[in-house]
């Protein structure tokens, strides 16, 4: 801290932070109450006081490569004790958005995903792909396998899998690129270098994430940790469901004994996960809604993502219900098809844009926590 450095304010970044929920950042008068009341902040170079002054000065390079922004779990203790209403918790949320956009493999896509004005464009991509899919399904169904009980007659199953595996590969490439770039910057800007075995540290961090160990250290907002945990488990459950579906479709078939057992398992895990997703995301939604102005209301970055998660849950559940409730299970009615279509569009959004939307915290937070662990910051 004592070395001399010339501050080159990135005014644009300050403006971006202000529009992303950090509009109060200039209120900060550096008393450091936040660093003390934060239950996550380490003794050595604690946060978020230093982030607040970096943000005020527009020091983007320092902020986006700062592992501490990912150690923050947005408890809100700092915001509620802040004597100036500077809302450090909200400012750090805005900085995380800035970091996600900065490390995005395709920065333009990140901007479009996280700005309301880009919504039409980014939804148009899956809408067009899936419309084409629906149009060519009758032709595809003659030459490729499809699943009758899963809207296969409406949207060829192979086509769906192909689309979503491509989306997933795109997401993995994007996330890898972002995470490795961030890691390099964190190493370059950190006064201490990471030590220890990477794999062991990743395992240790995942072991903390699964039970939300750090999240639960929050004094304020305990219920948010529970809601978030429910949502995370739901996503894990849905990933398992999808994998089982994949195995049934391409390996066992539904008729064999193993296939039948797997089918029951898939339905059970899938439905439990769907309920968990609705409950978790619903609780997160209510929690965010009930926050008063003083503790910060979040921005489109938060709300857009949360709405999308809720939509995935609602449409997924409804698509199943409408299909089962319909007269012909293998030929769903137009309402069921429409619901299924919306479901696919929203799932595409979550999948393909994961490293660009708020979902990216899954990758970046994990990376930040690993870096923090390997530099003894937690």
């Amino acid at each position: 801290m004592s070395e001399r450095s010339l501050v080159k304010p990135d005014l644009n970044f300050i403006r971006e932070l202000k529009t992303a929920g950090g509009d109060t950042l200039k209120q900060c008068y550096q008393c450091a109450t936040c660093s003390v009341v934060c239950p996550q902040s380490p003794d050595d170079r604690p946060f978020p006081r230093k982030e607040m002054i970096w943000a005020g000065w527009g020091m983007k390079d320092k902020l986006v490569s700062d592992p501490d922004i990912w150690l923050c779990h947005h408890c809100g203790d700092c915001t509620s004790y802040c004597p100036r209403g500077a809302k450090p918790g909200e400012v750090l949320g805005a900085i995380r958005k800035g970091a996600i956009e900065h490390y995005a493999a395709l920065p333009g896509l990140a901007k479009a995903v996280n700005d309301r004005s880009g919504l039409t464009k980014i939804l148009a991509v899956p809408v067009v792909i899936l419309l084409v899919g629906a149009l060519i399904t009758p032709a595809l169904n003659r030459i490729l396998p499809y699943h009758e009980g899963a809207y296969g007659a409406f949207m060829n199953t192979w086509f769906v899998d192909f689309t979503f595996i491509s989306a997933a590969l795109f997401a993995i490439w994007s996330a890898y690129k972002g995470v490795t770039n961030m890691w390099a910057d964190m190493k370059a800007n950190s006064p201490t270098q990471p030590t220890g075995n990477l794999t062991e540290n990743v395992v240790a961090v995942v072991k903390d994430i699964v039970p939300h160990k750090k999240f639960k250290e929050c004094d304020v907002n305990q219920e948010r940790a529970t809601a978030h945990m429910l949502t995370l488990y739901a996503f894990i459950g849905l990933a398992i469901t999808t994998t089982i579906g994949f195995i049934i479709m391409y390996f066992t078939g539904e008729e064999s004994v193993v296939g039948k057992m797997l089918f029951l398992m898939m339905k059970f895990i899938g439905n439990v996960s769907a309920v968990a997703l609705l409950a978790g995301a619903g609780l997160l939604f209510i929690n965010r809604k009930s926050k008063d102005e003083k503790s910060g209301l979040g921005s489109y970055f938060d709300w857009g993502f949360l709405w999308m998660v809720l939509l995935v849950g609602v449409t997924g559940f409804l698509a199943q219900m409408l299909r089962v409730a319909g007269a012909d299970n293998h030929n769903p009615n137009i309402l069921a098809k429409a619901t299924y279509f919306v479901h696919l569009v929203t799932v595409f959004y979550l999948f393909a844009y994961a490293p660009y939307s708020k979902f990216a915290h899954l990758f970046y937070r994990t990376t930040g926590l690993v870096f923090g662990r390997m530099t003894s910051r937690q």
């Binding site: 109450t33 660093s35 003390v36 009341v37 003794d43 050595d44 004597p83």
Partner: protein, 418 residues
């Protein structure tokens, strides 16, 4: 002294109110002081020493008391409040409500009554750090120099032990509240301040930890007429602290508490460090601050205190105070914003530098008067009504007396120009 028949009513008998009344009276006006306590002198009477000369307030107070006594133009009511003030024919018809003192002017302050009184009450003059009897002498230099009975604690005529022992017939247990009518040509509000209630700051441990005290309590601890006879010691065990942390801006410049800066708390802490080192130069003093604020000429105190031995100034606000029960100490936590490291300082005692809260913040005022958002009164209200001293803004004693003199002049001008 001549009397021109015009009256200035002063609400509040602290240093500002007394000064306004004295200055106006010495210029030939009648002055009426309305004081809600049982004594004149207000918050200054509770100080051990005051700025800028660091002398005990009693020397300055005594001069004022003598000027009041010597001046037939000044009338003062203690245990009194201004109930209403109605504008009529260019002046105010004011009504004062005077609570019973239960002790009349025959009292010689011999103290026999106190000896036989069987009940005790917390002594608010010492912020509850000791007790008085239900019949008590407000403080050593109290003016008027008369005992007073705390109505809430005294069992009344069923006890009456004090009445039996008083040889001057000074105690009247059946004394009733009175209303007094005053015709006032101008009114000066000198309602002063209250220390901010530290119990409202839930992260600083005032209440749960006995050795977390406030700056005003520190004044009483250091004062020779205080609860410890002037020895600074820990409330929990009476030991002299080997180390003391001072927490600046405790509930000040904080939108959750007092939004304003009281402008005197940094200086008060410098003074307190001086008290500590007068008692024992080896006591370690740690002052945690956001910014050091010493106005004008007081800047020199910053230099002299920061150069003192056993004094450490740390830039960073304390936001957590926890007890280390094993060590019998308190641990204060702050981030040193200069080094960027968290400090966990173990100390024997913590002093919260709480700010000045406008005493009239929530009061229903008998005159039309605007308030700032912080609760302090604007300099002037409806015609012929002025504000002075800390009622207007937090400041030090010297500024108050200057401002109070100016307020007397403003009141006089409004009468003369009429």
């Amino acid at each position: 002294m001549s009397d021109n028949g015009k009256t200035i009513l002063v609400v509040g008998g602290g240093i500002s109110g007394m000064t306004t009344a004295i200055e106006a009276a010495e210029a030939g006006y009648k002055a009426v002081i309305v004081e809600k306590n049982s004594y004149l002198g207000g918050r200054v009477a509770q100080m051990n020493k005051y700025f800028p000369k660091l002398c005990p307030p009693y020397c300055g107070m005594e001069i004022n008391f003598r000027r009041i006594r010597a001046n037939a133009n000044i009338r003062s009511y203690t245990l009194a409040e201004l109930e209403s003030a109605r504008r009529s024919n260019g002046s105010y018809e004011a009504t004062l409500r005077v609570r019973p003192r239960f002790v009349n002017a025959k009292c010689t302050a011999c103290g026999e009554c106190e000896k036989v009184c069987p009940v005790e009450r917390p002594n608010e003059f010492n912020f509850g750090m000791d007790k008085t009897k239900a019949i008590y002498f407000p403080h050593d230099m109290a003016m008027p120099a008369r005992y007073v009975i705390d109505e809430a604690t005294c069992p009344g005529s069923s006890c009456a032990k004090c009445v039996a022992v008083c040889q001057y017939d000074a105690i009247e247990l059946d004394m009733q509240p009175e209303t007094v009518a005053v015709k006032a040509d101008a009114i000066v509000m000198a309602t002063g301040w209250d220390p901010y209630d530290a119990a409202k700051i839930d992260n600083l441990g005032f209440g749960p930890h006995a050795d977390v005290i406030t700056n005003v309590m520190m004044e009483r601890l250091a004062a020779g007429n205080g609860p410890t006879g002037g020895k600074i010691q820990r409330p929990s065990d009476g030991k002299e602290p080997a180390s003391v942390a001072f927490v600046q801006c405790a509930g000040s410049r904080d939108e959750n508490h007092l939004e304003h800066c009281s402008s005197i708390c940094c200086l008060a802490t410098f003074k307190h460090i001086a008290y500590l080192h007068e008692q024992n130069p080896e006591i370690q003093a740690y002052m945690f601050y956001i910014d050091l604020r010493a106005q004008g000429k007081y800047e020199s105190f910053v230099q002299s205190v920061s150069a003192q031995e056993n004094t450490t100034l740390i830039k960073g606000k304390v936001a957590k105070i926890e007890a280390d029960d094993a060590a019998g100490q308190l641990v204060v936590t702050a981030e040193n914003a200069v080094t960027g490291e968290k400090v966990h300082q173990a100390v024997d005692m913590v002093v919260l530098a709480t700010g000045m809260d406008a005493a009239a913040r929530d009061a229903t005022l008998p005159v039309s008067m605007e308030r700032e958002r912080s609760g302090f009164l604007l300099p002037a209200g409806s015609e012929g009504v002025f504000t002075t001293g800390v009622a207007k803004k937090p400041t030090d004693v010297a500024s108050c007396t200057q401002d109070a003199t100016a307020a007397a002049l403003k009141a006089i001008q409004t009468i003369v120009r009429r």
